[in-house]
């Protein structure tokens, strides 16, 4: 038990937190961008906000509020 604890601590300290957190933020930005691309594509193909929301697993209002700027 104590041995594995020591091992874990070593493994943890080897990871640079800044690098990990930067990756998470970059992933968030990538997610936002990809979501925008695919929501736009779905709308252009005539999908309803409801159908888009269901695929994304969020509420219809959430998608509509986020993307309806132009309409």
């Amino acid at each position: 038990m104590t041995g594995t604890d020591g091992l874990d601590a070593d493994a943890m300290s080897a990871v640079d937190p800044a690098e990990g957190l930067r990756a998470v933020r970059a992933l968030q930005r990538l997610q936002e961008r990809l979501e925008a691309v695919h929501v736009m594509n779905a709308r252009e193909q005539g999908w309803s906000w409801q159908a888009i929301a269901e695929e994304l697993g969020v509420s219809r209002q959430a998608v509509h509020q986020k993307y309806n700027r132009r309409r």
């Binding site: 690098e19 933020r25 990538l30 936002e32 925008a36 929501v39 594509n41 993307y67 309806n68 700027r69």
Partner: protein
């Protein structure tokens, strides 16, 4: 630090944040502070700057044109994502193949997605430096308050590459600096 700012200098800083948000920037950069100053400067300074073609509209227009093709944030994210095994270049290429060459870069602008309305946008290191240098310019000039003029001098002194490029399209930095100092001395 802001307690020594004049009203118009405070407004400039607030507008800098607004502009950064409007342009979907991650940080408040010196060019956003510049746009803030250009929008809020009092009459004499405003006449001086617009005489060089330095107006909020002109700079903002340049920033909007540039923002879609800005390579640096992409490279930073690509580095970060590589560390967790994602090839951002490959993702961008696949989006480009299926949705058009600039679909990835312009996704956020084109989708009708609302811009972030809330949330704090931090000052970039280069902007903090410009604000500190503005304070130093005021002290050096024997002024008790930090005015918009000092903010501009701070931006020039900080010499961030991108903002200097934007200014240089209208007027060379040393000449601008000289005119601003003249203006401050006339007012004193």
């Amino acid at each position: 630090m802001f307690e020594r700012f004049t009203r118009s200098a405070r407004v400039a800083v607030v507008l800098a944040q607004e502009d950064a948000r409007e342009l979907d920037a991650r940080e408040i950069r010196p060019e956003h502070v510049l746009v803030g100053v250009l929008q809020s400067s009092d009459h004499a300074l405003s006449v001086l700057l617009s005489g060089y073609g330095l107006t909020a509209d002109a700079i903002r227009e340049r920033l909007m044109r540039g923002s879609g093709a800005d390579q640096q944030p992409f490279d930073e994210d690509a580095d970060a994502l590589r560390s967790i095994g994602i090839d951002l270049g490959a993702v961008r290429d696949s989006v480009a193949r299926r949705f058009g060459a600039d679909a990835f870069d312009n996704a956020l602008n084109r989708s009708g997605r609302r811009k972030r309305r809330r949330g704090h946008i931090p000052f970039a290191r280069s902007s903090k430096k410009a604000l500190e240098l503005a304070l130093r310019e005021a002290i050096h000039n024997g002024d008790r308050e930090i005015r918009s003029e000092h903010l501009l001098l701070g931006i020039l002194r900080g010499a961030d590459e991108k903002v200097m490029e934007l200014i240089d399209e209208h007027i060379q930095a040393p000449q601008l600096r000289g005119s601003i100092i003249n203006l401050l001395n006339e007012a004193a």
